[in-house]
Symmetry: C2
Subunit: 142 residues, 2 copies
DNA sequence: ATCGCACACGTTATACCATCACGCAATAAT
DNA sequence: ATTATTGCGTGATGGTATAACGTGTGCGAT
């Protein structure tokens, strides 16, 4: 195999991973695995497992986040920092229930407080889910 | 109908609601809707919808929480016995990936910080999901 | 009384989400 | 060459959630 699908400064993605990531990057709302599959049929993807395998890797790379309250996925869109280091464990999401937009943010104090609680209780956190559901500013105005 | 909205009123439960709530109270781990269904076959419940309808009500009453990262449900078990009022919107959960135990807790500062972010961004939150996945103290020791 | 309405209930069918189990191919190490 | 690792493709299966329809009961208004 020669080609790499996109000249971006990311870890080397396989063809399937690049296709799935492209779908998520181009979307304006979270996509379910099956929606991604539908969009990629013309590119030769046919089975859910092809999507889920790619998503697993992309999540592991930190390029994609899974939204637990939606059973759906978004491309990482950190406010400032990039896809490495501390920010991974602490990302939070504000999901608009009207327009499906997702704002990704990090509140250091929130993560701090949760870590502090865990330490006190002897709990060893491996991952943290923080998701706000509600109305974004634009939809509130309308 | 009970006009009682929030404070220490355990609304009258219908038969199905009582059965589902009983199953959750008696469990030591979160239960999926279908697991509850299996447990209640002998009581005459036969279809998923009967479970989901009861769960919707119980969640609305604040007697049960849905764990988004597990697609499962637990009976409310607030730490200090404040089983009503303010604490509902801000509950957080620490879920052990080894023994499936769930600790429910509230960190006022966490809720505060998230509300503060929302206010700044013009986001109007309707509900908040905070779930920690990891190892509880007992399982860490073992 | 009986009509209308709200609400819980029961059932079937279907849609949507996720993984298992198998086998094959390409690559890297021994 | 043999083995280990990783990604890929496919069919089958299992788990989660709702749509659509119809029934029955309680209760206030007529
Ligand atoms: Zn991110
Ligand atoms: Zn919106
Ligand atoms: Zn609670
Ligand atoms: Zn444990």
């Amino acid at each position: 195999m020669s080609a790499d699908a996109a000249p971006h400064a990311k870890p080397d993605l396989t063809r399937n991973q690049a296709l799935v990531f492209g779908a998520l990057e181009g979307a304006e709302a979270p996509l379910s695995a099956y929606t991604i599959l539908d969009q990629l049929r013309d590119d030769g993807l046919r089975a859910p497992l092809q999507i889920y395998r790619a998503l697993d890797k992309l999540v592991a790379f930190g390029l994609v986040h899974r939204l637990e309250s939606l059973n759906a996925f978004v491309a990482c869109n950190h406010p400032a920092g990039e896809a490495d280091g501390e920010s991974h464990g602490t990302a939070a999401f504000a999901i608009c229930e009207n327009c499906d937009s997702v704002a990704e943010f990090t509140e250091q104090d929130v993560a701090e407080r949760l870590r502090s609680w865990a330490k006190t209780e002897g709990f060893e956190p491996h991952s943290t889910v923080i998701e706000l559901r509600g109305l974004c500013e634009a939809c509130r105005a309308a």
